[in-house]
Every structure is written in structure tokens, then in C-alpha cells.
Amino acid sequence: MQPRKSGGFENMAESASRPEEARPAETRPAEEPGAGWEPVIVGFLCNWCSYAGADSAGTARMVHPPNVRVIRVPCSGRVNPRFILRAFQRGADGVLVSGCHPGDCHYSTGNYYARRRLVLLKRYLEYLGIDPRRFRTHWVSASEGQKFADIVREMTAEIKALGPGPKAKLGELV
């Protein structure tokens, strides 16, 4: 299979997850986005479970918003926290990391390491001033196409409510 050309925002999909307890809302950036504004959500999907789950949602014709740009990773454990900050800095309005359920990891422990790292990251992003509801992690197995579709729908709605991501207030890279 021709390796997918990753990189750049044109060929990615996105997903969503449930918020933890309510957090102080991030105030809206100055300029109100247009009515038709669609959030960009970057989704790191683990190849063995969540990517397959997303595929099964597709083949089963489940309708869910196309806002998630999917980056396929071998395992949720492959996701380095700086990928997530980097995505936010370059315009992502939301980031999802989705992997196998703990215990089902193809590499047996990858998602356990990922869980510690990403639970810590979620609190740390909030500490740095990024609304934690913009970053979600979920466990979606290959057969849970419906769950993936629900997550995508929910997250897209929530991010749309939250408005554009932190890039506006961070500014340009140079």
C-alpha cells in the first residue's frame, strides 16, 4: 500500500472525547470566527485499534463530521507530548489521541505508558493556559466504529463552541 503522505493539514481527519469536570472557559479570542467556521482537530490514531475503528466507522457508513485530520501512529505510546503542543501552535483547534483499551495494546504496554504521559499532559496543558477540553484521549478498539463516530461528533461540537484554538493568542512562529 502506498505509504500515506502525512504532514500538512489537507489530508487529515479528527475525533472527539468527553470532557472531565467543567473548567473555567477559555475566553473567546478577539475576532469572532465566521458562522461557517469549522474547527480543525488533529487526531493521533493508533494503527491497530483506533485507526481500524475509524475505518470501520467509515465502512459502516456511520455519519460523523469530517473535522478530524488523522495521523496514524503505530501505538498511542508513540505520541510524544510535544506533537500535541506543536499541533496547537500551528493552528489545531483540538487534538485527540486515541489508542487501544488498556490491556489490549498490540505492543502489550504501549498505551499504559501513554496513559501516564497523557494524563500528566492534560493537566500540564491547562497549567500552561491551554483549555484542557481541547485535548482528549480515548480508547477505541477496532470494532468500536460507533464509539469513534460519537467521539468525533461530540468533540467537533464542543470545539466549535469553544472557538478557535490557542494559535491566535500565541502568534506566528517568526
Binding site: G7, G8, R90, L173, V174
Partner: protein, 379 residues
């Protein structure tokens, strides 16, 4: 080589002299900041001031009490990140041939550097020698320099890290300054609370003191009877010594360093160096920079950024060769450049004795230490 220190030659002739209330300075700067980018020692509560942009709003306040700011005003002329150009790759609609439009970064507007100490002002002239002379003129720097007004404030109380007199400068020096403010109460006072004599030495300085913003802030003519008192105050500042400068005496080690390139001293003194860029980035005369691109999908910016000879990758070449792999090579380069190479090329030392490296080096490895120890070594 510049004036200053005890019994020095007479300085340049003042063009005009004004008086300004110490309390009027903040207001003056806020007015200037409305139509120029103002850099000044900005008050940071509980810590030494930083040389930053002074906004037109109410939040920034001037801090002239500290002897020096933590970082130098170099950023006003050589920003730590300076976009040079933007580029955009586009595909021509019908022919499909790639085309590239490239836009050079537009030069900025007027800049006022207010509250630099005489050492910082002199440092600008050392940077000018690099960027405005030689086979090429750096017109990025030149465009900014041509619109920069430097207003120095004479040093009322040099501290034990000051050694500008070791390089022929003085706490009341005028080199590199369009205007110099001398505290009316003369040296010795931690911060001038009464008023400043504002003496313009260049046309641009004169214009700055005559500008509407200045008049509105209460910059007024000096009453007749104060003429003599002005001379006394100015020469008092210019005759002021510096604690460390008096201890070190005049630094003139260029010739001695010629023979010390392979001396084991560099190995010994650099062992404790952290090989970081602190001393170079806060130094008013260090100017080394790198150039890099930042872009994706055919669009981007080329910018230059501060770099430091102390950083291990400074001279790393493609293929892995690094002419200065060890800390001793890099430490030698930093002090040889300031005390030998620059002297060979431009006839004076690349240091103004501001004392920032003395204050900021985490392991006490700085120019006065090396200049002093090198004096005692055999070639």
C-alpha cells in the same frame, strides 16, 4: 580611542542643553512611544530592570536606579529574531510552471533607545564598525541605525562590576549617544530625583530635545545662572572612576594574546564553563547571528537570530566536522575575538566594560577575570 576616565581629553562640544524634571521622564517616553519604538530600562518589581520596549500605555515605568539592566539595549538595533524576507511558492495557473515571489522585510520606523548607560551607547559604535564598514554594508542594520536616537543617562554610581574606564570610556561618556542626561545633583546619588541636564551632541539629539513630545514633557532651557553648575556636573560625571576599572587599570592585552593561542590556560579556565550563551546574549557588543528558514507548504520566512560562539553547534559543518569541539576552543574564541581579533580588524577592543558578564556568568568566567589572568601568562 574615545575619551573618558581621569584627566581625559575634552569631549565633543554640546549643541544644545536642556533641563528636564526627573518626574517628567515616564510621560515623555510615553509620548515618544506613540510615534516611535522606544526601548528603555523597564521597571521589574523586585528585580533589576530589563532593557525592553517601553509602551505608550500606563503599565511601563522607567527604572534608572539600577546601575545596569540585566540585558543590553543591543536588541533595539539587532533584534534577537529579525525577519529578512518572506517567500511564497505558487504554481502558475495555465502553464503550471512554479513561480516564487519573494518579499524583502520592510524596514521599521524610528527607534529611540532611552536610558542606555554610556557603556551601552559606546557599544553601538562597536557594532557599527562591523555592520557598516568593510566590503559589505549590512543594510538591514543600516536602515534601523539611520532612524535610531540614542539617549544615554550618565552613571551616578558605578558598582564593583563596572570597568568601562579600563577601555577608555567613562560613566559620563558621550560616545555613541545623541543626547546624554546628567543628573543635576551630580554623581554619587543612587537615582536623580530632581532634574536632569539633557545635553544634545548630535543633530538628531537636538531634534529629539526640540520635538513636541519633549516640550510637552517639560524639557526646557537651562536657566542662565546654572551654566557653570552644568559644566561642573558634566566634568564630575566624566571624571568618575569605576571600582573594578580602577582595580584592573587599562586593559591592553591584544599583543600578549597573539602568542597565547596554544597556551594550556584555555583548557584550565574553561573547565567550569557551562558552554551556554548567557554571556554573549546579554553582552552589548556580541553580534554573532545565524540565518534560518521557517516555513511549510511552499510558504515561509527567512530570519536571522542571535547565535553564540560558546554553543557547541556554532561551527558544526555538514558531514560532522567541528573546528571547535571542546569548551576550551570556544572559550578561547570568545575572549580572543573581543581582546585580539576585533582589535586586529578595527583597532580597538570589543568590550565597553559594562559588567554584565561579571554579573550573569553562573560560574564566574568573564572578561575581567580572563583579561587580568592573561596579563600574567608567558607567551
Amino acid at each position: 580611542m574615545g575619551e573618558g576616565g581621569k584627566g581625559m581629553a575634552p569631549g565633543p562640544v554640546p549643541r544644545t542643553t536642556k533641563l528636564v524634571e526627573a518626574s517628567g521622564l515616564d510621560g515623555w517616553l510615553r509620548a515618544v512611544a506613540r510615534e516611535a519604538r522606544v526601548w528603555a530600562p523597564v521597571k521589574v518589581d523586585g528585580r533589576p530592570p530589563l532593557f525592553r520596549e517601553f509602551g505608550a500605555g500606563e503599565e511601563d515605568r522607567l527604572d534608572l536606579e539600577a546601575v545596569r539592566t540585566v540585558n543590553s539595549p543591543k536588541g533595539a538595533l539587532l533584534p534577537q529574531t529579525e525577519p529578512l524576507m518572506t517567500y511564497a511558492m505558487t504554481k502558475d495557473a495555465e502553464s503550471g510552471r512554479p513561480s516564487l515571489d519573494l518579499e524583502r522585510a520592510a524596514p521599521g520606523g524610528p527607534v529611540v533607545v532611552f536610558g542606555a548607560r554610556p557603556c551601552d551607547a559606546a557599544a553601538f559604535e562597536l557594532l557599527d564598525k562591523v555592520f557598516l564598514t568593510g566590503d559589505f554594508v549590512d543594510d538591514h542594520y543600516q536602515a534601523r541605525r539611520a532612524k535610531t536616537t540614542v539617549v544615554a543617562v550618565a552613571c551616578p554610581r558605578p558598582d564593583e562590576a563596572c570597568f568601562c574606564t579600563s577601555f577608555g570610556l567613562s560613566p559620563g561618556g558621550t560616545r555613541g549617544a545623541d543626547v546624554v542626561l546628567y543628573g543635576r545633583s551630580g554623581p554619587g546619588v543612587p537615582v536623580e530625583t530632581v532634574a536632569y541636564y539633557a545635553v544634545a551632541y548630535t543633530e538628531r539629539g537636538e531634534a529629539f530635545l526640540a520635538a513636541p513630545a519633549a516640550r510637552a514633557a517639560g524639557v526646557a532651557d537651562v536657566p542662565e545662572d546654572e551654566g557653570r553648575c552644568l559644566e561642573e556636573v558634566v566634568s564630575a560625571f566624566r571624571g568618575l572612576g569605576t571600582p573594578l576599572g580602577d582595580r584592573l587599570g587599562r586593559i591592553d592585552v591584544a599583543a600578549r594574546l597573539d602568542g597565547l593561542f596554544d597556551h594550556p590556560y584555555w583548557e584550565k579556565v574553561s573547565a567550569r564553563c557551562l558552554s551556554c550563551g548567557a554571556c554573549t546574549f546579554i553582552c552589548p557588543t556580541c553580534y554573532c547571528f545565524g540565518v534560518a528558514d521557517c516555513g511549510a507548504l511552499g510558504k515561509g520566512v527567512r530570519y536571522r537570530y542571535w547565535d553564540a560562539c560558546k554553543l557547541p553547534h556554532f561551527m558544526l559543518m555538514a558531514g560532522g566536522h567541528n573546528p571547535r569541539p571542546a569548551k576550551s576552543n570556544r572559550t578561547r574564541q570568545r575572549f580572543m575575538h573581543k581582546l585580539n581579533y576585533y582589535h586586529h580588524r578595527y583597532g580597538e577592543y570589543q568590550c565597553v566594560g559594562c559588567g554584565r558578564c561579571v554579573e550573569s556568568c553562573p560560574v564566574g568566567l568573564h572578561l575581567p577575570l580572563v583579561a587580568g589572568e592573561v596579563g600574567g601568562l608567558e607567551g
